[in-house]
């Protein structure tokens, strides 16, 4: 028998049909997400200020403000420290954090894997090998000599990406094939990197190891704009795909069913991640953890909608990097501990806090 007239779907409580009110929960959720994004921006600004205020030179607040806003009145030393050392370092921390945060989200989305990060597919190991090779051979570019090591890292990173890509392409860009090919590439370049280190003389080895630590000391007005441009272009490129990426979180079959060209989207995002990672890693070395964890923190705060998730992951990456930068300067007031060592130290407790506090699942 067909259901009698008036039989209808009821809400999960079995209660009578709920009439959706005008201020729907979804609108409230949207507002909450925007609020959290604004909050994250404020935190980042505060940390960036703290970052510029701290450093081995022990400048006073007044000195820094003068150096920043009326450089003509500051003495030459202060001007150089604030404008040419601290400001590029702070900007680099923000840019690298944003790049790694976004690259991390992309990786986790296209591989459908919560453990993925920009480094999963061996990009950073390749960059490290490129840099180590350049340091070992002592080769220098005839023009822009400062670009030699970053360019070697960048090129090797893109080569690794091409390797993983051409392999995965043969198997229709299936995520599990990409992960396997990527991990194989990771070990390949790690071995190559170890070989270079083994062959290197002690003082060269020291330079290589220092590069691999990941440090903001290499930031300058030469390289900050390059990272900024790579970040801006890759961000623009992903704008038309935001909802498609959100749809990908339903799985390939359902994403395809609502009109996503899954394989083409993977290829595009794969290229963007390679560029973002190469751009970030080339100038500061390998900075782990940010690209893995910033996406998770962002997901806990604003959910899976990529319109909110991507900016939040960028902000969380930048906050982690800037926070790590401040901490690295505070724990050794004389020198600066390489930031790559500090990021995990401050990021892990925060992640644990969020995991323990949250009631919901986040992947």
């Amino acid at each position: 028998m067909p259901p009698p007239d008036g039989a209808s779907f009821t809400t999960e409580t079995g209660a009578a049909r709920a009439v959706p009110d005008d201020a729907s929960h979804y609108t409230v959720l949207m507002r909450q997400r925007l609020l959290r994004l604004s909050g994250a921006i404020l935190v980042l600004v505060a940390l960036a200020v703290a970052d510029i205020l701290t450093g081995p030179a022990m400048l006073s607040l007044f000195d820094v403000v003068t150096g920043l806003f009326s450089p003509a009145q500051a003495d030459a030393m202060t001007r150089v420290i604030v404008l040419d050392i601290r400001l590029p370092m702070s900007l680099m921390a923000i840019l690298v954090g944003m790049s790694l945060g976004i690259a991390g989200v992309h990786m986790q989305t296209i591989l459908g894997n919560p453990l993925a990060s920009p480094y999963t597919l061996g990009f950073s190991a390749a960059a490290g090998f490129g840099a180590a090779l350049a340091i070992l051979t002592g080769f220098t570019l005839p023009v822009f000599p400062w670009l030699t090591i970053p360019l070697a890292a960048f090129v090797m990173c893109v080569l690794a990406a091409a390797l993983v890509f051409s392999f995965s392409r043969m198997r229709a860009m299936r995520p599990e094939v990409m992960v396997l090919a990527g991990i194989a590439t990771l070990f390949l370049f790690q071995s190559a990197q170890s070989l270079v280190q083994y062959l290197a003389a002690p003082e060269v080895l020291q330079a290589i190891v220092f590069w691999l630590f990941g440090s903001l000391l290499k930031a300058s007005w030469n390289n900050v704009p390059i990272v900024a441009i790579v970040f801006a272009l890759t961000s623009l490129a992903v704008l038309p795909n935001l909802w498609q990426l959100t749809a990908l979180r339903l799985g390939d079959a359902r994403a395809a069913a609502v009109g996503v060209e899954v394989s083409a989207l993977r290829i595009k995002l794969f290229a963007l991640v390679a560029l973002l990672t190469a751009g970030a890693v080339a100038f500061v070395g390998t900075i782990g953890f940010v690209g893995l964890v910033a996406p998770h923190i962002a997901r806990m705060l604003v959910g899976e909608d990529q319109r909110f998730l991507l900016p939040m992951a960028a902000l969380m990456g930048a906050i982690t990097m800037t926070g790590a930068s401040v901490v690295s300067k505070l724990i050794s007031p004389g020198g600066v501990i390489p930031i790559g060592i500090v990021t995990a130290l401050i990021g892990v407790p925060f992640l644990f806090f969020l995991i323990l506090r949250g009631q919901r699942r986040h992947w």
């Binding site: 067909p2 779907f9 959100t246 339903l250 997901r299």
Partner: protein, 252 residues
């Protein structure tokens, strides 16, 4: 408006999954696609929806549809209701109209999506995560998503598999109503032959990638075709005023 399927063939390399299928689905009618496991039901629906490549033709009101047009006009709802995603329920429904989503949502779209959810009594779940609700509720959410697309042809892969009896009846009743009111052509793969008999206007029986039978439920759902398609002995009866009743007796 009607959907004409001609010579539909799907092959992976040497292996032919579907061979030269023909059928005609009129406007506003519900077709049940039946057949044993591995008969090619899901492949048939996916090929028709332009999601896997096929040979042969599909024409809508006499107009030949390209794969791209099929992807646009034909909505396919996959069978799997497992979901490892923390997307919220309303976001899932919104994704049904992927093409109209941008940086900001078109005015009124969220409200429309909410109404699509409420049609299945799920408005109160709108901000719950997909992995927090039950399998049956997820199936209803995916149904809401498919209907939110407002497709001209709606293909559903076992749309009631995860639902309790009451919701099975409600969903099939709703789908038939949508077909009648909007002229939507609905095709659904089904395992429950009694429900197929009760709610479909037309039955297409597949076996081994071929068409075994096609026509009105009473014509297709006979002991003979059931023996061929499923390898079972079944008793088919009909009381006056009631739908066809199929009683499976034993496997042969």
């Amino acid at each position: 408006m009607s959907l004409q399927i001609t010579n539909l063939t799907v092959a992976y390399g040497q292996k032919t999954i579907l061979r030269a299928l023909e059928d005609h689905w009129p406007e506003g009618q519900v077709t049940a696609l039946i057949g044993c496991n591995g008969a090619g039901k899901s492949t048939f629906l996916q090929a028709l929806a332009g999601l896997i490549s096929m040979q042969g033709e599909a024409t809508l009101s006499g107009k030949l549809l390209s794969p791209e047009e099929r992807r646009q006009m034909i909505a396919y709802m996959p069978q799997d209701t497992s979901a490892h995603s923390s997307l919220t329920v309303l976001e899932v429904v919104l994704l049904g109209r992927l093409k109209s989503l941008g940086l900001s949502l078109p005015k009124g779209l969220a409200k429309e999506a909410l109404e699509a959810l409420e049609a299945f009594g799920l408005a109160s779940l709108q901000t719950r995560q997909l992995d927090e609700i039950s399998g049956g509720q997820r199936q209803l959410v995916f149904l809401a998503q498919a209907l939110f697309r407002q497709p001209r042809v709606l293909l559903l892969d076992e749309p009631t598999a995860a639902l309790d009896l009451r919701h099975q009846l409600l969903v099939l009743e709703r789908l038939r109503l949508i077909a009648r009111q909007n002229g939507t052509i609905i095709g659904m793969a089904m395992h429950d032959l009694n429900l197929a008999a009760q709610y479909s206007d037309h039955v297409l029986g597949l076996g081994g990638g071929r068409k075994i039978a096609s026509g009105a439920p009473a014509k297709v759902l006979t002991p003979e075709t059931l023996r061929i398609m499923y390898g079972i002995e079944a008793q088919v009866s009909q009381d006056a005023g009631n739908p066809l009743q199929i009683l499976p007796l034993r496997a042969i």
